[in-house]
Symmetry: C2
Subunit: 738 residues, 2 copies
């Protein structure tokens, strides 16, 4: 069931700055090399014979290598090596070993295979590159500099790992234009890459036409032993095989050295056989140091195979260093003056520190020429596509521009107290379904808990290998991989808003991916149900306690816990706006949303507008209260009941709903003081989670009712009673303070 | 280099209650079935022919099945099924599908293969059983009841998932005697089992003699599709293959159903081929519902193979239910009255709810008789071992009793300001090495960061497949698996204190394992170095910010951040004591210890005794201060410098070292008020982490200096300056409050 959008909603994105920029950048391009889509299925001729282009909009854009002999190529490869060595030496910090070993394979990817335009790093149909072994960042910076990315000048290489530089210790997409995703924590990159490749497969199936292909690009990854040891990479790779992501090509830098020494001490599995079991096409290049033909052939074969490809490339870490190659010493420390000199002599490198032979700039500048031509050709196709398929073009434009369709918020319903009270996970499903219709780039799924998380979009089918145009993702029980895949999707196109779901407790399984979303400005929505002891019988292994606090402590992420239908709508509105960077910092901010298993009534005082301010008054807003209850989620109604009981004794009670601390902190002091008047120190927080951190709002004289222990297995209402999360306890706490 | 302990340290455990209890429990046992260790290598005869025992202490204890025909056995199997059905129905909550499908294989494990004594569940040489698919807990409770565990009476089965019961929603070792580890979060159990099997291999190599075998047991696991999808299981399985844990036998309940429906929608990899690639022996039993012989033969073959074994057992989830078997409906919801009746009819089950045919008690009581005999035989060997090998017996006794050798604390050194200032990760190495010598059960390792975490025990070699008696574990880059393996080791024997290490930031990769340690009373030491922005150039992907807060929020775990040598010694002392349950709650409490990359001076006011109280005064303890600085770790010296500057202007400043909030919360109010006098509201916290939560100690009028953003890539000192973590900022904050 492919989605059909109403014109009014999709074709008029509100403020289309990015799309405008992209178009203008493209208008200056000339020439192209193409083969017809029929030709694209034949083995492409390689080496010094360039493929003649046929200027048909139906074509697949094919990349051909520059004319160059082996000597010229190895000069470029050694330039990559020495820039990396010099950068690490100058910083006196970093990892020279991987760049020295991976320079040959990366040269081939970047100068003979990859389709990209260094002068327009955000061209939507570029091939993606992910250095999953992110510690080798100087490799990528060297490649970016030599191929002509404006973000990495020679001076930037000299500022490696320094304050304010564009060349931080690990590749950071938010610092350096042209970096696709942030890597360093091992395994995240390959899992992001699965997301990038899934996004491509989805867009290609959804938007390409028999006569026009506007989405057609590969995702290349370099990963190391460390990535392959991490569980997250196995999770993501299993899905890549399952989804048959044929345009994902991973090169495994098999250098046999990790920080503890030789991989023999902890890593003796048969990696390629494992990937075969996961449904991948696998190959082994035995000499990744000098055998360019073998690497070329392997990449060619990988492109042809319909499965994702793993190419194990055996290399020597620190290749060229006479005394440190093939040892752990060259992994994570500068070569140093003497060994650098010895390496220069060994590789017969007669150039100075940070010196680039002009002919290497020429050779690697090929990427610019070819990329510009390819982008121009693509742009011609895109212009024709817009004329011929305006409706699809509107959706696609929304996805590549990142602009939300005007009026998207109107899809979010409002509720009155007369509406049936429901669990917020059910409200969440309503919102997900509404947004999926309103926003073309909205898609996602659950880690095998769809019927519990209530995350299926009913209007769509499943994204599967044969139905990739669909939008329900089935991640299986793979939370960590799910998060990183969703982040890859978010960073593939600015208009994607991926969501991913599991029980709130299992954020513990994917915390690194959630943090990476926050750090790298991936506006992923983390939909977390079963948010407290209220889930009941599954017991303490499944009951989150400290999780709200743990995300409130994390930078650049919203932790939202709505208390009824209106607040769930508001939570989604805030999450989508923040995913798009609509916040004081102006950068995408992901959200963790905690939803209940159990039902709760709709309250008269709740509103989307209130949620936007994080904390707001839902009851007793007039005049100075004698006591303030602050509550979130399923405890909101309990607090309101407590307030009413206080009021029945003639006192004045206010209830503040604390849906999101981060949004409240964004407000000005006047607003904050209007909600929590400083002179009212009788304050009681009520939340079925740990009380850690609540001192911020209840102050030194307030009290917090919460769960400062692990949960237990019993029906939810029993647990609330046994743990003292009750109206009576709230009333008693309030009375003790007045 | 096997360890040699001094007699005084090991042979006189301080207070040997557990050992005493174990011995007395064993003294009443009679009879045994044994084969000589030579015979143990031959295929054991099975079926109704019992092996004749030879009563030699050199022997391997062999278990033989009871005499029973298929009809009797299937009656027992159906009893397991119906107890599970009835328990879930009565609770109106739970998972009947797995118990119904896994009843045959589990019957065989529990009544024909496993060596255990239901009347002494803690017998050290018992075989271990782990239900990694923990949602099927009623399976295990049914087995435990039928085989005679005192912890699970018939009434307990009727209290499934109720408040205070011994039969919680998922198996919990801390609630139900006889449960080895807590499972439910998928993949944790199989990873724990790798730890259990590693522990056995280690102990066997370390303590068995050619003429006496006192450690010789298997670890059986039942895991499901969900466990196999999780990355943690791949990490742990890769290590199991690498370590060649031949006595680990995993049965994979291949029922093809997960919560989202058929596994076809997300899980199509070749699991057995993957395990082959990981170095496992793999088999497939195609009919796990009725083919007992095939299952028996597979387990026999698994026992013989020197590799860890994976037996894929294809089953029907909800076997016996005519309308719900093989569907998701039977996975996680009660069968209900009608379908239960239909299932009774279908399986010709003429017994009532919770009714156990007496002959089934008889048949499954076999485990008690055989277990008692086996334990008695073992005890005879153990008594002889103690006479013949007193030194090794002392070490082993310490490990099986859990009593710390007297005087172990004396191994921890003290420091004066004249001692060279060092990074606390270096002090940590000193402590690890000292404790490893003092405590026979102390061992562990790092996730491929040993040279950075400084976690090698220099007196020992590496635990490897051919040197399992050694104590340095090499986990590779597998944090999540590492944590769960360490937890398995901790729960294998009460005297084990395992440690595991990585960068503090990568607690995000293993948070679920750390939480499971806290929940399940596994006294694991989580050694976390590179604890702040102070690590510098690696940048924000590697710099923890919110992590101290996130663990302070977690129940039953210590978050320790020491500020010099004495405090590092104190941190280890507290961590070891708490690992053994020496705290107000009397239960083992694991520790997360955060150590610096960068150096810091030894302070005059620090002490181990102070650390034991969590927060304590290290400077300016006399009289009422004008301002209090509260700092931890690398910021302690900064706070002391700030205090001295305040004092130079004639004011009185106190510095409180906040090594561990949890230990401080354990203290009485008088102590707390002596450290933080309530009438001193001018308080400034200084910590290179997020300020979230610090309101607890600085109060509404105090100020917190911290890092409420992600870090950056630059030299550490630059980051401190740019982020305002400076003496000047601390002084200014103090002055603004006085």
């Amino acid at each position: 069931m492919p989605t059909v959008m109403s014109k009014s909603c999709v074709l008029a994105p509100a403020g289309c700055q990015h799309a405008a920029r992209v178009s203008s950048a493209r208008s200056s391009l000339r020439g192209a090399r193409l083969v017809s889509s029929r030709q694209a299925f034949r083995p492409a001729a390689r080496g010094i014979i360039a493929i003649r282009a046929q200027a048909a909009p139906t074509a697949t854009i094919e990349i051909a290598p520059p004319k160059a002999g082996e000597e010229e190529i190895f000069k470029a490869i050694n330039t990559i090596r020495f820039l990396s060595i010099d950068g690490v030496n100058k910083a006196n910090s970093g990892h020279p070993g991987l760049p020295m070993g991976c320079a040959p394979m990366s040269y081939l990817i970047w100068n003979e295979f990859m389709k990209y335009n260094p002068k327009d790093p955000m061209w939507p149909d570029r091939d993606r590159f992910v250095l999953s072994a992110g510690h080798g960042s100087m490799l990528q910076y060297s490649l970016m500099h030599l191929t002509g990315f404006e973000s990495v000048q020679l001076d930037d290489l000299k500022q490696f790992r320094q304050w304010g530089s564009k060349t931080p210790g690990h590749p950071e997409n938010f610092e350096t234009k042209g970096i696709e995703v942030t890597t360093g924590p091992l395994g995240q990159g390959i899992a992001n890459a699965v997301g990038l490749a899934a996004a491509e497969k989805h867009l290609a199936a959804r938007f390409n036409k028999d006569d026009m292909k506007i989405v057609d690009h590969y995702t290349y990854v370099i990963l190391g032993d460390g990535c392959n040891m991490e569980g997250i990479s196995n999770e993501a790779a299993s899905l890549a095989g399952h989804w048959e992501l044929g345009k994902l090509i991973a090169l495994y830098d098999d250098n046999k050295i990790s920080i503890d020494g030789h991989t023999e001490i902890s890593f003796t599995e048969d990696v390629n056989k494992r990937f075969e079991a996961l449904g991948w096409h696998v190959q082994h290049v035995k000499d990744g140091n000098t055998d360019l033909s073998a690497m070329r052939n392997a990449i060619e074969a990988a492109k042809k195979d319909p499965r994702p490809s793993m190419i194990k490339v055996s290399t020597l870490i620190g290749y060229g260093s006479p005394n440190k190659a093939d040892t752990h010493d060259v992994h994570g420390a500068p070569l140093g003056k003497d060994e650098t000199a010895a390496t220069r002599e060994n590789l017969k490198w007669n150039y100075g520190e940070f010196e680039v032979p002009p002919e290497v700039y020429d050779l690697m500048g090929h990427a610019q020429k070819q990329g510009a031509e390819a982008e121009k050709k693509w742009d011609e196709t895109w212009q024709q596509y817009k004329s011929k398929y305006p409706e699809e073009a509107g959706e696609y434009e929304s996805i590549i521009s990142g602009d939300l369709p005007s009026g998207w918020e109107d899809a979010l319903p409002t509720f009155t107290p007369e509406d049936k009270g429901l669990a917020t996970r059910l409200h969440s499903q309503t919102m997900l379904n509404a947004l999926a219709t309103a926003i073309p780039g909205f898609w996602g799924g659950s880690a095998d808990l769809a019927p519990s998380n209530m995350t299926l979009m009913k209007q769509f089918g499943d994204f599967q290998k044969d139905t990739p145009q669909e939008r329900n993702l089935r991640f299986g029980v793979r939370e960590h991989g799910m998060g990183a895949i969703a982040n890859g999707i978010a960073l593939h196109s600015p208009g994607f808003i991926p969501y991913c779901a599991t029980f709130f407790i299992f954020t513990d399984y994917m915390r690194a991916s959630i943090r990476m979303a926050a750090l790298s400005h991936a506006g992923t929505l983390f939909v977390m149900t079963h948010d407290s002891i209220g889930l009941g019988e599954d017991g303490p292994t499944h009951q989150p306690v400290e999780h709200l606090a743990s995300f409130r402590a994390m930078p650049n992420i919203l932790m939202l816990r709505p208390g009824d239908g209106n607040e769930t709508a508001g939570a989604y509105q805030a999450a989508v706006l923040n995913a798009k960077g609509k916040n004081p910092d102006g950068v995408p901010r992901p959200s963790v949303m905690a939803f209940s298993r159990q039902g709760m009534p709709n309250q008269p005082g709740t509103s989307k507008e209130g949620v936007m301010k994080g904390l707001y008054t839902v009851h007793g807003g007039d005049g100075k209260p004698d006591v303030i209850f602050i509550a979130s989620g399923s405890e909101l109604c309990l607090a309101i009941d407590a307030a009413k009981e206080i009021e029945s004794s003639g006192k004045k009670a206010r209830v503040v709903s604390a849906v999101c601390w981060e949004l409240f902190e964004d407000q000005d002091e006047a607003y904050k003081n209007s909600v929590l008047p400083p002179d009212v120190t009788a304050r009681v927080s009520v939340e079925a989670g740990c009380t850690f951190g609540w001192e911020r709002y209840v102050g030194s004289k307030g009290k917090s009712i919460g769960v400062d222990r692990f949960g237990a297995s019993a029906p939810g209402p029993t647990l609330y009673k046994e743990f003292g999360i009750t109206k009576e306890a709230a009333v008693a706490a309030a009375q003790s303070l007045m």
